[in-house]
Structures are given as structure tokens and as C-alpha cells.
Amino acid sequence: MTTPTAPDAMYRNDEGLGVWEHRGKVAAVGVGHAPTSRRWDGRPETCVGAITIDALRKAIDDAGVAPDQIDGLVVVPVTTTGAFWEAGKPLPMDVIQSFNQTDDPLDGIAKLSAEWLLKNMPELTNVKFTMYGPGCMSNALNVTAQAVGDGLTHTCLVVKSWHNFEGRYYQGGANAGDALPGTPAITQLWGGPASYSTALQFAEYCRKYGKSHDMMAAFMENSRRNGLRFPEGYWAQHRPEELGPEDYLASRWIAKPANLFDNDIPIMMSGAYLFSTAERAADMKQKPVYILNHASSNTRPRSLLPTLDEVEADTARTGRKIYEGAGITADDLSFENMYDGFSLFHQFHLEGLGYRGIKFGEALDFYQTDISIEGPNPVSPSGGNVGSGRSRVWMHTDCIQQLQGRAGARQVTGVKPQVGVSGGPMPLGGNYTVWSASPD
């Protein structure tokens, strides 16, 4: 079986498309997460393929579905956190020989194919539809929702996993060399870290609106607090440490004004969901969470970095697309779980949505109010990547669990959980999902 990458036609990139044709007819039911770790320890049972199988089996079990009822699988094939298998490094033959390998010896170790998963999950006997959603879970969710809605699959797994190896983030490969090819040299010779672009947008935001980096502390504290209530997350599992304003503001700079905590921590993780038609989902073990819409942004900046003007124009456009396709307004949102890794762009997403009526330049002031899960204006109840490590998955899991009423210690109590929104990653270029406790 050859697995295609999702075609452009599966994404809702444009304004004016109207209400999504499958609104309320697709549902998420099962959730599965593998245990997290900081880095791979080299064992077969903890490689990225193995933890993916673990997450998928948990999602199947959580939904209460027999494996042979599953007919679809959507996978994010890229699993790197910025860590690559260096050229010339010996292959881990003991790991490779522990699985039914594809032609690529690093499949299941430094990348992930649908073929590898099907070879190693013999219980999935009836999967007829496979597709790649590139990038991150937000993308794969859009693909899955559209595929189920279009009837390409009726019971579909979707999974995103991350591997992290030894060594420092992005410091191998070309960055360790003495020369670069001409094309990447135009953007990479100056050595900006991954968070540099976001840091600059944040700096411009602060200058324009008279805000400061220390105003982020309230958001960071709230996010870590929520993350420590996410038992599937890295910080809850390994380092149950609060992140108070003093700790946050004392942290070292990476690319000022982005500090260490503004950069999410790379980890090993896998998260999976089981989607189905609303009709089939009604008979499954968990309460269905209905998809009201999915929307995407494929906007590119004019030049090297998005300007604040470009960011604000596009997040506003994304907000309009989200609401239009879902047939809702900002007033209908019970909570928001927009992306936060890097933390310094969460406010762009929030302002683009007009969450709780906030306008451009107002989010950092909003952070100084009650944004807790107990209050009327919960911000990032998942805790996001700030609260649980780099995955771009927590926000989606939290939406599902909140609307199912099983978010545990993280359950929002200041609002009735009826509609949530999640997605990202970047303010320019992302994929978003609107979730609802009701199909209507």
C-alpha cells in the first residue's frame, strides 16, 4: 500500500467557503498517549515506532473499538524535534531487528511510515485508507476529519509522534559545518535560533503596544500549572515543578526577548486519536466530541520573517475562517487551546480569534486577569507545550477530554465546556479544529 500525502483539496484554506459540509458529522472518541521521556534511551521498546504503537493501541482501547473495525490511518511521518540521525552513525541493529522493518532502516527510529505501523500492528487487518498529514497533529487532524467526512474511511486512527536523541537542539548537521550551500546561506549564515523569528515579532508587538516580556509570566505560570495536571505530559511525569514569575523571569535568554522557558522542551512522545462518523461514534465507549470545522492558513511572509502586520492580518483571517466554517462566533467558545510553542506567539492566536472580545494589543493585559481553569476565561487549559513539553498534541487532547468531561484535575469549572478550538503551529501557516460537545 502506497501512502499519499494529503492533497491541497482536503484543507480549508480560503475565506468564503461557508459552513463546513461535514459539520457535526465527524467525531473524535478515543485518546491514547505513550509515556514521555526526555530522550530516547536506545531500547527497542522506547523507540519512536514502539511508543507510537503504544499510543495507537491505547486510543483503540479507549474508544472501545475492535481493531478489525478500523479502516483508516493518518500519520505524521516526520518525528524529529530537531534531532537527526547523523550521517555515518552506526545503525541500531538490535532495534531494527526487533520489528518488521520497511526498506528504510531508520523507519520507526527517526521517522515513521504508515507501512511500518501496519507491519508492526498485525491486529489492524482492515485498514484500506492511509494518508500522511505533514508537519504536526494539527495538520493530520484536518486530514482525518475531512477523510471521515468524505467517506474515505469510517473509523480512522490519527497519530503524531516525536523522537529526541542525544545532543543539543539543532546543533548538528549543517550548523556544525564550515560552509553552507548558497540558498540556505541567505537565511542561515546569521545564526538565529528557532525562536528568533517569534522573538522579533514579540519585540515589535511590545514596542507597538507598550507591553513587556515580564507580562508573559502570568501566562507561563498558568500554563505550567495546567500542565502539571496533565498526567500524560512530560513535566507532570518527570519534573513536577511549578513555574513562578521569579523562575520564569530569571531564566537565561535564548534569543532575547525569548528566554529558555519561552522555548518548549523537546521530548519523546506519541499521541493518537480515534475518529469516526458521528453515527458510529454514538455506540463507542466514550462520549463523541464532534468536529464543527477545520481551517488552515498557508500564508507566506513577503520576505525573511513575518512582520507584525502580516501576523495580525493572517491571524484575523484565520479567526474568520474558523468561525465561518463552524457556524459560530467568538462568543460560542468555552475555552481556547491555541498553540504556544513558542509561548511568545500565543497572544497572536488569541487576538486573531478575538477570544473574549480581546483586540490586537490586549492579550498581555488579559493574561493579568483570571485565566485559570476555574475562572470564566480559561486560557490554554491544556497547558500546551509550555505545560507538558513539545508535542503540538496536548491542545487537541485537552479539547477532547474537556468536552467529554474527563479532563480530571484540569477540567474547566468556570465555564460549561461546550465548544473549544485548538491548532497551530505558527501564526502564519497552521491548521485548526473546532470541537463541540454537541453536533448541532
Partner: protein, 137 residues
């Protein structure tokens, strides 16, 4: 600061050749008369139909924004941390940006909005690379 060397490729050879002649050229679409940077094999605005040329620009610009890099992923630059990393907007078209370490400007004392002019500095393999310096009042 000793930047990594550059091995020009087919797409960017004219840019780097011009830099070695201490000239700044930017890719321009003949059809829509619009500059684009970074360069690409196609015009981003003509649905891949526009003919592209390299156009010499004035080498003047403005400091649009900056950050201070304390934890750089590029090995050759790490001994110079922390350092300024600014974004320059070209006077010829403020929508076009270029990076600069702003040689001579103290760390975190970047005059955002100041006028700058292009200079060319040798990289690790001798290829000249565009940089920018603040124009004195």
C-alpha cells in the same frame, strides 16, 4: 564575526557573485516588477509564470527590528555570543528584508529605525557576505 563559508548553488550564484564584486542584487520579477528575497526558482506572485532577473539595489536600508542571540545553533558563531541579529528593510522596497549582525553596534543597543548601508565582509571560505552598518548622522 566569522560566518560560515558559502558554496554558491545554481539559484544563488548571481547573488554571491555580485557580493564578491561588492554589489547587492535582489531577485526581481520582470512581469510584475516586484522584488523577492529570499530568492526562488519562480515568482511568488505570478503563479510561477514570471521571468526572473537580478536587479542591483541601492544598498541603503533601515533597521526594522532586532533580537540578541545568546544561544546560537551555529558552531562558528558561538564564541561571539551574545550578539545582535537585526532585520534590515531595504529603501528600494521596505517589504524586502535582510539579516545583519550590525558590526560595531554594542550588544542590545540597536537603534531601531536608524539608516544603514551595506558593506561586504569575508566569510570563512573568503566568499563576501552582505552586512550592514549604521550611517553616522
Amino acid at each position: 564575526m566569522a560566518k560560515q563559508g558559502v558554496d554558491p548553488d545554481e539559484l544563488t550564484q548571481p547573488f554571491w557573485d555580485a557580493a564578491n564584486e561588492q554589489r547587492l542584487v535582489i531577485q526581481n520579477c520582470v512581469d510584475c516588477d516586484r522584488l523577492q528575497h529570499p530568492p526562488s526558482n519562480t515568482c511568488r506572485d505570478c503563479d510561477e509564470g514570471g521571468e526572473l532577473e537580478w536587479k542591483q539595489v541601492s544598498g541603503r536600508g533601515t533597521i526594522y527590528n532586532y533580537g540578541v542571540v545568546h544561544d546560537c545553533p551555529v558552531r562558528l558563531l558561538q564564541e561571539d555570543q551574545p550578539f545582535n541579529l537585526a532585520v534590515i528593510m531595504l529603501d528600494d522596497d521596505p517589504g524586502i528584508q535582510m539579516y545583519s549582525h550590525l558590526p560595531g553596534v554594542p550588544v542590545d543597543e540597536v537603534p531601531v529605525g536608524a539608516a544603514v548601508e551595506v558593506i561586504f565582509e569575508p566569510s570563512a571560505n573568503g566568499q563576501l557576505v552582505p552586512e550592514w552598518r549604521v550611517i553616522a548622522d
